[in-house]
Amino acid sequence: MSPRWTAAAIAGVTGAVLAAAGCTSITLRASEARTPVLLGPVACIGCAPEPGRVAAPPTVAGGVHEREYVIATFPSGALDRITDDTVPLDVAATTAVADPCREDLRVAAVHAGTWSFHEPLIANTWIDAQASRAAVPNGVCGVAPWPSVGPTGIDKRRP
């Protein structure tokens, strides 16, 4: 193998590894939970912050973790990525709150971090959140316009 070809191969592998390693992200979300999961000490969605409010101890936790391995191979890097919702926040919120019309969750803490080694590339990224339950006095829910489906099947209740 000529020196020029070797240099090109090394550059290609390095580029592929860096490209694979540099484009990773994870998201922790609760978009499917019916229970509102609120950031900050607010009384309700759209309300002003509550200064000086004493938060209840967090009792609901969720998190997402991702581990990534990149092995330099030719012509491109081999990437293995494992993402786990260790506790999906949607599931934690739904399990913890029986009546989402009269209770919501307020995020008390978010921990996010990452570390990596570069030879070989091993990366670990995580987000964990803890939330507190909070009663919503006189809370009411609107009627769901469309049916939902759950572990026991279709819920066809509609207006």
């Binding site: 978009s31 999906p88 769901a144 469309w146 049916p147 939902s148 489906v149 759950g150 819920d155």
Partner: protein, 143 residues
């Protein structure tokens, strides 16, 4: 807006529209979160009923898993090769009364399990998940 109109118009000008309509039981107009100008149809073929999503470019996606319960017909597809934690699942529920709207559900990874039921492996959400789109039946199948 002009681009959207042209895109939708393109779908209605399929070359084999007449032949396909023979197999179409119901075609649907989606309302909700679906790809732009996507079309949906319930068809009857040699293998029985099937549900198809058609993109504006003519790419068709079959929902290969089908089961029936007292609520109606269900069709599902998922992109998790090994485990439900690795990809989305989509389910379409079509009531037994075909004149009623159908509903499209999308289950995020980690929020559903694959369960064996009646000889069919199908996605079952672990928490209640609201429909992502309503599929209104059309009088004249345009797909």
């Amino acid at each position: 807006m002009v681009a959207l109109t042209l895109c939708c118009a393109t779908v209605r000008r399929g070359t084999d529209e007449g032949a396909r309509a023979l197999d179409t039981v119901v075609s649907y107009q989606p309302v909700g979160e679906v790809p732009s100008c996507a079309r949906y149809a319930l068809r009857r073929g040699a293998g029985g009923l099937s549900f198809v999503e058609r993109s504006p470019l003519g790419v068709e996606t079959d929902f290969p898993v089908h089961w029936v319960d007292p609520a109606g017909d269900h069709f599902a597809i998922w992109d998790a090769p090994a485990a439900a934690s690795e990809g989305f699942a989509r389910e379409v529920w079509i009531p037994g009364d075909r004149r009623q709207p159908a509903y499209l559900f999308v289950y995020r990874a980690g929020l559903y399990e694959l369960r064996e039921s009646g000889g069919v492996k199908r996605p079952v959400p672990v928490i209640p998940i609201e429909a992502r789109a309503k599929l209104e039946p059309l009088q004249v199948p345009p797909l």
